[in-house]
């Protein structure tokens, strides 16, 4: 399903270290993937997996003291090498990010209209009136009625769902080529989640926009994105076409995530919900060998001594010594701790 032309975004062995408790720790470790034009990639992982940091590293929006290695190329141009001015250009025109908590990310003391128009007025020298027209249009595309009046209101006058839609509108107003969505629906309740997802999906397809969709919800990512990548302990452990993930997920972690979610069409015989024992590790907490070894039901001695690399399998990649067997389901007879 990957496009044959040069991918829009290429992430090449990206590593990120953050100062934690005074010492630099690795939170993202050698992550590589690419996103083609018009393609949606889901980036899935639990907290601490490094998925948010990856997105921020792509945008060069890391906290002070962080350092990165590896490269990020957008349309061939290396992002880490950009000058401050080019970086601003790039951020204001070609890429946009939607954040998890809209109320924290929109300045509460300024009207929404300001938030929407800023990008246009500050950098691109579009006139104020023209900017407001576009802002009203943007609000309409996310199905917010009475757009002109809404522009003059403040964020406290919007509900969470509406506010997230405003943020999406603000992201799309610049007509970016790539949208980074960092858990855009996590802070919303289930019904509004669906609404917002539907809007994002619809708009993305309309505009042929590429998207990286970050979430902890594997099913959601698989439903919305063309390809899904799974991260654990700062590394990419699997990358597949979304529709194949259910059939032959080749990494035990992926399997575990799929099995741990309650679903109406699960086999009745299974009975219990399979929770993954232990807690998710951050990049710097991972031991030698496979990061998932301690929690993996199929762990063998080799898993602790040798770290599995991403190997191609079934039209995707997986980082497991026993990827083939996991994908085929032949190792399932091992000692599953449910």
């Amino acid at each position: 399903m990957t496009s044959m032309t040069t991918p829009l975004l290429e992430v090449d062995s990206l590593s990120v270290t953050l100062p934690i408790d005074g010492r630099p720790q690795t939170v993202v470790n050698g992550v590589s993937f690419s996103v083609g034009a018009g393609e949606a990639l889901g980036l899935v992982g639990e907290s601490g997996s490094g998925k948010s940091m990856t997105a921020r590293a792509i945008m060069r929006l890391l906290p002070k003291g962080a350092s990165t290695q590896g490269d990020v190329r957008f349309d061939g141009t290396s992002v880490p090498d950009m000058s401050a001015k080019s970086l601003r250009e790039w951020r204001s025109k070609r890429v946009a990010m939607v954040f998890q908590d809209p109320r924290a990310h929109i300045n509460p003391v300024r009207p929404i209209g300001d938030f929407l128009c800023e990008v246009l007025v500050a950098n691109r020298k579009v006139g104020r009136r023209e900017a407001e027209r576009r802002a009203a249009d943007a609000l309409r595309t996310v199905h917010i009625a009475d757009a002109e009046r809404r522009l003059r209101q403040y964020s406290y006058e919007f509900s969470g769902c509406l506010l997230q839609r405003v943020m999406i509108a603000a992201a799309l107003i610049v007509e970016p080529q790539l949208l980074l969505a960092d858990e855009p629906t996590t802070a919303l309740d289930v019904t509004t989640q669906e609404e917002v997802m539907a809007i994002i999906d619809e708009l993305r397809r309309d505009r042929q926009m590429s998207m990286i969709f970050i979430t902890h919800d594997l099913e959601l990512a698989a439903a919305v994105c063309d390809r899904t990548a799974v991260m654990y302990a700062g590394r990419l452990v699997e990358q597949r076409a979304s529709d194949r993930l259910h059939l032959d997920g080749a990494h035990p972690y992926t399997r575990a995530l799929l099995g741990a979610r309650p679903s109406l069409d699960v086999d009745v015989e299974r009975g219990t919900l399979a929770a993954i024992p232990g807690r998710p590790l951050a990049g710097y907490e991972a031991p030698d060998g496979c990061g998932f070894a301690d929690r993996c039901p199929y762990c063998q001695p080799v898993c602790r001594s040798e770290r599995p690399e991403l190997t191609p399998i079934h039209n995707g990649f997986a980082a497991c010594h026993f990827a083939e067997q996991v994908a085929d389901g032949t190792v399932l007879e091992g000692a599953p701790r449910g």
Partner: protein
């Protein structure tokens, strides 16, 4: 406002709660003979019920008749007229210093971080413990014996000369507040810089100057404003000390001198002025707060 009226009643009533016959006080202490006392009673209607006396006083004030000082043998309004400019100048001067060094310094420290921030933090901790009269004494010690850059007494004549004379008093008045304001500003700006909406603004490629101007500063201002309100009240109190210390003829020193002489007519008027100023400043702060942060109108004042 209601507060003002109530306060004025209390202030006027002060005359009566002080020990001794009000007439004695009006004369300025000592033991006047009974005839004089009786005459004063008559002249000042001291035997009338409280509220009619109060009414007479209050209407007099509103009409511009501020009473007469016994100690200075002069109309209170006359006394005030000559001194108000000095005090106003002093307060304004100090205010300017506070804004430039306090808010300016604090903002710089918050934005730049690093050495500037450490310097401001340490400096403010030290300076906050230096009350006006201590700074005054230090400054007098330095500038009267070692350096002769500034005069240490009096208010001078003419605007330029006055500013020169008022430099040291303004510094002694302002120093502790500069420290306080700088500290509050720095913390507030720092906090805003790290906030998520600033992050979001950066992610959209907005220029740094724009972000600082439209997102950081405005959002950081409520605490600074709250502090400013308190500070202005303190400045007025501080003028009493600064003017006394430097021998300046202003409202503050008038208050102190008449308090020492127990010249209640003057003290009453001056305290009325203070309360009025206090109420006005508080109201202005409230209004500006709402203008800066529309949420305040919804939230209300009690937090």
């Amino acid at each position: 406002m209601l507060t003002l009226v109530v306060a004025s009643v209390v202030i006027y009533g002060l005359l009566f709660i002080s020990p001794g016959d009000p007439a004695t006080l009006l004369v300025g202490g000592g033991k006047p003979n009974p005839e004089v006392v009786a005459r004063i009673h008559q002249e000042y209607h001291l035997d009338d019920p409280f509220f009619s006396q109060y009414g007479r006083w209050a209407t007099g004030v509103l009409r511009g008749d501020l009473g007469r000082s016994m100690a200075y043998r002069d109309d209170v309004s006359h006394l005030l007229l000559g001194r108000i400019p000095n005090t106003l100048l002093l307060v304004l001067f100090a205010g300017v210093l506070i804004v430039i060094f306090g808010i300016g310094g604090g903002t710089l420290a918050g934005l730049r971080g690093g050495r500037v921030e450490t310097a401001v933090t340490v400096g403010s901790s030290v300076a906050m413990a230096f009350p006006t009269f201590v700074v005054a004494v230090f400054l007098i010690a330095i500038f009267s014996t070692q350096l002769s850059w500034f005069p240490v007494f009096g208010a001078g004549q003419g605007l330029g000369d006055k500013l020169w004379h008022l430099t040291l008093p303004a510094i002694s008045l302002a120093l502790a507040y500069i420290a306080w304001v700088a500290r509050v500003t720095q913390v507030s700006v720092r906090g805003e810089l790290g906030s998520e909406h600033v992050d979001a603004a950066r992610s959209r490629g907005l220029p740094n100057r724009w972000i600082v101007r439209r997102h950081v500063l405005r959002n950081a201002s409520p605490p600074i404003l709250a502090v400013s309100g308190l500070m202005i009240a303190g400045l007025f109190a501080g003028t009493a000390v600064a003017e006394e210390a430097f021998g300046i003829d202003g409202i503050g020193s008038l208050l102190v001198d008449s308090a020492a002489k127990q010249d209640l007519a003057v003290v009453q008027i001056l305290s009325l002025m203070m309360v009025a100023a206090f109420v006005v400043v508080n109201t202005v702060v409230d209004v500006v707060n709402v203008a800066l942060d529309p949420r305040q109108a919804v939230k209300g004042r009690d937090s």
